[in-house]
Symmetry: C2
Subunit: 258 residues, 2 copies
């Protein structure tokens, strides 16, 4: 395995770019997985691994579970702990990173399924947490419009593999997609912090459903709210203005699938 | 207002200590609130403000809403943006901080109420998010045993005031408290990621209830599980081993109060 000891090596600079820049990910079609478990899951999900970077210590600790990754990676490099710290956005990196090809977005919405749509969700940790909850609750898939991309390393880490396993449908025209799904007789619900909207406990989720949750600070756009059949809300007490977006999404998914 | 321009000023060092050390908070009975909104809420909740630190820019922007804090603070200091960055744990601090007296823990459990108990929850952001959800859903209060203290600045910030408004009961003997509440005919439910436990959808929450959620990595201790009347679980699908602790707590609170 070729050794890299300089942080200014071109391969390392490129890895950092893929990890840190949504634009670089979009243009290259690549993304980065960090940590033994996530890299192993990437291989299990059939991702193509372009480059693998690993410290001697990580090779010793995780070599067995990374056998598949080490075998299928087009190129592998031994790196120093300093370089691992440079590539990683965690405090104590395990020391293993895979640059992978983004899986083809081959999913379409099943009109009988239960989906969560996210409009302009910004926080990658929220996106990851939501994906983990979605998989655990048996949600059919996520619909993502704007905001944090699913290939953000923080989102992938916080998703603990759910973003690799769950059907994810990206769209640049969420209102258009919602209108299309409404025409296909899906229930479309805009989640709003408005106590005059329909309480989610009184909505019947007995047909295919899309619940839409908005941005952490600003909620949903009017275009999305107007496209939806229903405005739904989680009844609230106390002095709280709104629930955390990930919490609201969790409760909505729970009600959809319960 | 006295000006402080040196980060090594004793008042600043003490503020940093209160913000960063749980031990210093416990020993002094003080804690720190950061940001205009939280400082304002502290005054509204009747907290005693020992020291207030503010940048000229923050005074200009938030002077009006901080009138109560500026009036009641025992001492106020003008600080530089550099010092604000030193005290703050946010990326872009607003530049206002209050060292406050911890409110007296005067609450006891209402046997007809609905409580969430947290055992050794570590992540302050989780604690804050859970408190915000608890208040929004009308939970009677939180019971806290070990883990992150409620006076952690990150927990306070993520709680957005809920940790100041919500009854919070601390205990060093959670199993003992649970046995006592059981004897008072409360339903006590240990939340476990075990598909053989009672699904929370099948538990009747029609009497006073305590649901207990454990540590992010290790869940509940056996002592707590054994003290509870029931082991309850959120039914899960997919390849997910467990839900995020804050998500599990949110769904449990929702079921308890829905």
């Amino acid at each position: 395995m070729e050794k890299i000891s300089s942080p200014s090596n071109g391969k390392i600079k490129y890895a950092v770019k893929i990890a840190s820049s949504a634009k670089a990910r979009r243009e290259s079609g690549l993304f980065m997985l960090e940590g033994a478990r996530l890299c192993e899951e990437g291989v299990r999900c059939g991702l193509g691994i372009v480059s693998l970077f690993i410290t001697p210590r990580a090779l010793e600790l995780y070599g067995d579970r990374l056998a598949g990754a080490l075998e299928t990676a087009e190129e592998s490099f031994e790196i120093t702990p300093d370089i691992a710290n440079k590539i990683s956005d965690t405090v104590a990196p395990q020391g293993v990173f895979c640059i992978c090809r983004q899986p083809e977005n081959k999913f379409s919405v099943d009109l009988n399924g239960k989906y969560l749509a996210l409009e302009n969700l910004q926080d990658p940790s929220n996106l990851g947490a939501v994906s983990r909850t979605a998989e655990a609750l048996g949600v059919s898939g996520l619909i993502i419009s704007g905001g944090c991309d699913i290939f953000n390393p923080k989102a992938q880490r916080s998703g603990m593999g759910s973003l690799l396993r769950l059907p994810v449908i990206g769209t640049d025209d969420l209102p258009g997609l919602i209108r299309e799904l409404r025409a296909g007789d899906m229930l479309t619900v805009a989640s709003v912090p408005d106590q005059n909207a329909a309480p989610v406990t009184e909505i019947s989720f007995d047909r295919g459903t899309v619940c839409v949750v908005g941005n952490e600070g600003n909620g949903l756009t009017d275009a999305v709210i107007n496209a939806c059949e229903l405005r739904g809300t989680i009844p609230m007490k106390g002095n709280v203005e709104s629930l955390n977006a990930a919490t609201a999404a969790s409760i909505l998914m729970w009600e959809m699938t319960r």
